[in-house]
């Protein structure tokens, strides 16, 4: 385990406690006998939670939603610029001219955004590799269990970066380096040295999974940026193809999303 990873684990405190408390409530009504899944069975298809159908979808045993994601703890000189850009984007959106994003240009969000699971997500566990497929834009990331990711200076910048992992009990602890600097989740700037730690674990009933994320980037952040994303198992769902083959949207001179077609007959 790298030093950065060990440090990060110590910072997870509150988020871990809160989400484990949520899990503990479920544990009272669940046991190995009631589920076909083992404690490390993270493979399968998943949808983000709360789902589009709503929190729990009528299941009274469903876990509570994760805590709201905080704003990034950017250093003051970066926060001011980020806040200004966010406010400008909000104003443009309110005026009906939302800023075009990478998504608008058919470019997947990369890490960590792709783990939000805006579209369904498939996890494949094959030997020492965990593969995550995000349906939107057919995004794929590969996590090598038993390896550490390359140090940032040796990591070719990518959208999904480079991920190594190990198991701590039944929690898969993933460390990711080498994310392209212009791959900016929530428009948050980061350095080439950014590391993302994910602690991925099933809740006790094993139909829900949580991903406790810690972004470590001392060049830009005053402290690690932490939040939790959750997923609900979607047995039987077959992932669909998503090739962005007919994008009619682009951006205008102000960077606003706009149809790039002539609607004249």
């Amino acid at each position: 385990m790298s030093r950065a990873l060990r440090r990060s684990i110590g910072t997870l405190g509150v988020a871990v406690t809160l989400s484990w408390c949520a899990g503990a409530a479920l544990a009272q009504t669940s046991s190995d006998a009631e589920t076909q899944y083992g404690p490390r069975d993270i493979g399968g298809t998943w949808e983000r939670y709360p789902t589009l159908a709503g929190l729990g979808s009528g299941n009274n045993d469903a876990p509570p939603r994760p805590q709201p994601q905080p704003d990034p703890p950017l250093k003051p000189e970066y926060y001011a610029e980020w806040r200004k850009a966010q406010d400008e984007a909000a104003a443009m959106t309110a005026a009906g001219r939302p800023p075009a994003t990478n998504y608008t240009h058919c470019i997947g969000e990369g890490m960590p955004g792709m783990m939000m699971a805006m579209f369904p997500m498939e996890v494949l566990v094959t030997g020492d590799q965990v593969t995550v497929i995000q349906e939107a834009y057919n995004q794929v990331r590969r996590i090598y269990v038993g390896e550490e990711p390359p140090p940032p200076e040796d990591a070719e910048p990518r959208f999904a970066g480079h991920s190594g992992a190990h198991w701590e009990g039944d929690t898969l602890v993933v460390e990711t380096t080498g994310i392209k600097e212009y791959v900016r989740y929530r428009n948050v700037p980061h350095s080439a040295n950014m590391r993302i730690i994910e602690r991925i674990s099933l809740l006790p009933d094993r139909d829900y999974m949580q991903n406790e994320i810690t972004v470590i980037d001392p060049e830009y952040l005053t402290e690690p940026w932490e939040w939790t994303w959750m997923y609900k198992r979607w047995p039987g769902y077959k992932m669909q193809e998503y090739i962005c083959e007919n994008n009619l949207w682009g951006s205008d001179e102000d960077g606003a999303a706009t149809l790039t077609i002539d609607l004249d007959e």
Binding site: A100, T101, N247, T260
Partner: protein, 148 residues
Amino acid sequence: MSIQIRRCALAAHALALVVAAPALAHHSFAPYEPDRQIRLHGTVEKFTWQNPHVYIQLRGGEDGGEEQLWLIECANPGILNRVGWKFNLVKEGDEITVVVAPMRNGQPAALLKAIRTADGRVLSNGGPAGPATIPLDPEEVTDAGGQG
């Protein structure tokens, strides 16, 4: 007759990327009227089942209104499959009725909210696009909301 694609704007600005947290799907729905929906009836000139959006090109208009060619934006094939659509649900020449939110800037383009197909099926455009707030038929109350 059909809508011609002009790529120059996309090419000119493809590198000027602004990245934000995608809240919904391929793009924000803010270019469409947030509170105004209209009902269009007409004939399908083209149906394209592709990502990132499915499109219906509809020759038609509002009841008693002027006919023109509308570009109706639907969700993507994945979302639509999940709410009961099929790649061949709509065909060229079909007479359909849709409830849509038109573009705020007056272009003849709109975001689908609900559709009645040529054979009478009523479907939503998936959860993220939001429900129809007016009925597909003036004398009906629609329940087309659905989830994506």
